[in-house]
């Protein structure tokens, strides 16, 4: 499955090795890892909880992967997104794209992250000294996703 939503952590080395195994035609591997920061909007973040829409989230991610495959000449794409409670320094999201050449792999990887940020049903709630709060969507993320339309 190219898409996984899970509470468990992930190992980028193991995931890339699995995608390359038996595929000697792979000449480029582009990847992105999102990590929980300890600061947001000027406040210390003690931890955050990620919520999703089971069923629809996976469908939305699969649709994005299918679109990336149709737009770029890539071999494979993987998206792993964690849910549940995470602490600063924890990994949240992994995108890996394999292809023959770097340009297509880089573009498809960036496209997947930009679309994920604006179209996949995930919500973050962070706990700060000022209390718990839902993270607000950013206009800059919409602008980043609009580049691809």
């Amino acid at each position: 499955m190219p898409v996984r939503v899970q509470t468990a952590d992930f190992d980028i080395g193991a995931e890339i090795a699995a995608m390359r195994r038996g595929n000697p035609k792979v000449g480029a591997v582009a990847s992105f890892i999102g990590v929980v920061r300890d600061l947001n909007e000027g406040d210390r973040v003690a931890e955050m909880t990620l919520e999703h829409y089971p069923g629809m989230t996976e469908k939305a991610l699969e649709k994005m992967v299918a679109e990336a495959r149709s737009r770029w000449d890539i071999y494979d794409a993987l998206v792993i997104h964690r849910v549940g409670t995470l602490k600063p320094g924890d990994q949240i999201v992994l995108v890996v794209v394999t292809g023959a050449h770097r340009s297509e792999a880089f573009d498809a990887c960036e496209f997947l992250m930009d679309y994920l940020k604006t179209r996949a049903p995930f919500w973050k709630k962070e706990r700060t000294p000022a209390g718990a709060r839902w993270v607000e969507a950013r206009e800059s993320d919409d602008a980043a996703a609009d580049r691809w339309s």
Binding site: Y53, V93, R119, A120, P121, W123, W134
Partner: protein, 93 residues
Amino acid sequence: MKPDDSRITTVEVLYFARLREAFGCDSEQVAVPESVKDVAGLTAWLRQRGAAWAHELAPGKPVLIAVNQDMAGADTPIKSGDTVALMPPVTGG
């Protein structure tokens, strides 16, 4: 033909994240008059409950809506048996 409001459409409505907390529930069966035919009609009907509903679903407030797990627009039709999700703008990644 005049709409017959004695007939009803029953949909399952799901609420996520901030909306779930604002409404104090994560899902409910909602029976609306059959004259409510699309997403805009459903949100207008829910808004009439007042309080948090009027506030969170006020026109211009960004709310994402999915019908049967596909992103929907104001004019997306709804029918009995559909699952309609009301969601705040997403913040994953």
